[in-house]
Symmetry: C2
């Protein structure tokens, strides 16, 4: 069996290859025809994206063919299509999407890793082209994951939860009892930060926007384990630290908003603290007083998961994915998503673009 072509029984009949050829001719194994979301030029996603049939792809001896199960629409996917993301797939006929979970459909005869048809796998590090029904890539691309979690969590574990986990680990040595502060706390990264911090015994101070429903949003975050949640206007006081009560002054802050919401983090941080910027939802820059640098000794840094991934961290990445999916399985990591069938891609995209008001994260279900 080790060197045999392994196929899911139900699909074996659909693959064409000549039984009369010697075994090396197994290289003529092909994927099923696939449907993909493509773009030929950068621009508004609802104008430049198209769903197209993609012809079967030949499997190399160490290739694995997977059938996608689920893939999210992340803001960075939108930015790549728009052409405003620094790393983008080459045009034309770029397949969109960057993360997701798949089921192994067939493996080439020389595949050596313990990956079998039926297994759930994740492209790890993530890579371009997850918005399509079948994908063929070398075995090294795929990381086998547990299949006892909801498919939408396996599909989204690599970008948002892993960002939260890395930011908690890479900048400041935190000990149980320490506190951190973040804005954009209702984002999925924000929710992951709260829950992952809680697992480590780290307290979280959370900043959210002033808007209708902010009391309900506060309650939701507290149910996830948030220690304190403030709206921006609540922090608009002179002695902001008096609001912290028994919580220690935070040594680390996460900013995904910019503008005033970033300044509030700088105000709350303790002497010598660090603020990490990983997003700019307000589209406003970060503004910092000279004394914050000189007398308060604050450090300002940035985090970009894609750069971290590029620095030869494949094995670390896989260990973290397993850790995060274990937390999901234990009920310690959750966030709201909506599964939308791939056949309704246009609807899922419109929801992601905000055309239907505030919506949960869209995850394409194949």
């Amino acid at each position: 069996m080790a060197s045999a072509l392994r196929l899911l029984p139900s699909t074996a009949a659909r693959l064409r290859f000549s039984r009369s050829l010697p075994f090396s001719a197994a290289a003529s194994l092909f994927s099923p025809p696939s449907k993909a979301v493509l773009y030929d030029q950068h621009g508004p996603p609802d104008q430049v994206l198209r769903v197209a049939d993609v012809p079967p792809v030949e499997l190399g001896e160490r290739d694995v063919c997977v059938r996608m199960l689920a893939a999210p629409i992340n803001p960075s996917d939108i930015n790549r299509v728009q052409g405003v993301y620094p790393v983008r797939p080459p045009l034309p006929a770029a397949v969109a999407g960057y993360e997701g979970v798949a089921q192994v459909h067939a493996v080439g005869p020389a595949v050596t890793r313990p990956i079998s048809p039926g297994d759930w796998v994740i492209p790890s590090p993530p890579s371009f082209g997850t918005w399509q029904t079948y994908i063929v890539k070398p075995e090294d691309v795929w990381h086998k994951v547990r299949d006892d979690v909801p498919v939408e969590y396996a599909a989204t574990v690599t970008v948002n939860p892993l960002t939260a986990l890395r930011m908690l680990r890479d900048f400041v040595d935190l000990n149980p009892g320490d506190a951190i502060v973040q804005n954009g706390a209702t984002s999925i990264v924000g929710q992951c930060v709260i829950q992952l911090a809680k697992v480590q015994g780290i307290r979280t101070i959370n900043i959210i926007r002033d808007r209708p429903g902010s009391e309900e949003a506060k309650e939701k975050l507290k149910q996830l384990g948030a220690d304190e949640v403030f709206t921006e206007s609540q922090l608009d006081v002179k002695n902001v630290k008096s609001l912290l009560g028994a919580l220690p002054e935070p040594a680390l802050g996460f900013n995904c908003v910019g503008g005033n919401a970033a300044s509030l983090i700088l105000k709350l941080l303790r002497q010598g603290g660090t603020m990490v910027t990983y997003g700019g939802m307000s589209k406003k820059p970060v503004t910092v007083s000279t004394s914050s640098f000189i007398f308060k000794d604050l450090s300002l840094r940035g985090f970009w998961l894609q750069k971290w991934m590029n620095s030869d961290k494949a094995e670390d990445c896989r260990i973290m994915i397993d850790y995060l999916l274990a937390l999901v399985q234990e009920g310690k990591l959750k966030y709201e998503m909506e599964l939308t069938p791939f056949s309704e891609f246009g609807l899922a995209l419109d929801k992601s673009l905000g055309k239907h008001g505030s919506q949960p994260k869209q995850v394409l279900s194949f």
Copy 2:
């Protein structure tokens, strides 16, 4: 001689102590009467500072009495008097001034360090109260320095040149051939950065204000060893890096201005670079785009010499002072200053406050 009271011959007669007492009674040795610049409350320096007679101070057995030779008026001295500096001497009757050079006048009988009357010494780390004619402090305060450099250099070596040296060492590992960028390049710290970098084979890209005489200022900085000098408006181009010619993109930048001049440093820095803020001459904050943090991976830090001094760096500080004064002696470190007699303190202060237009750094000569 080791345990004898040592005095400068010319002043021995002026000190009163009873020759009939046993030697331990040398503790009743007093400094000469002194004149000091004092303040009793914070406020505008030209209103709250006063020159006053200070009574003789008793020397302890391990005290050293010095006669000040020269002490600069630094911007931080002004800020301490104004009350806007985070660390200030207690009021009332605080003696102003923070650095300077002195000549040893007398040493207590139990002084063990090789400090003798006539030696030049520097309070190192610097400490409050250098704007007075005689000072008594424990022997550990004083660092003996060479006396073959101009007195104004010994008086000013600790704050500005040491800031430049530390900033070159503490943030980024630089190798010969690397480049750095700074704004406020005509400041004394800026001039020191240029010269200290040159000693290490590091190239400097310097930013100065647009103003009448900027061509002359450029020429002066180039004579000190600056590789490139630009006015802010010259850098107001889209492809700023095309101006660097053969210079490598800088990994480190120093900001003492803020506002647009800080943004220009961020533009010039290479991917993953660090900007260190140590001043805010424009009184404008530092503004940073989200993408500078995420995609360009810039780090923003601060430097404050007084905090560095507090972290138990006395020995390091003294080694650096010796190194810097050796460079002065070799003609490799220079900057413009004006010696003004202590008797004309009011004039020196007015010049430092900008009342007489742009003036060189004022150094009080005692």
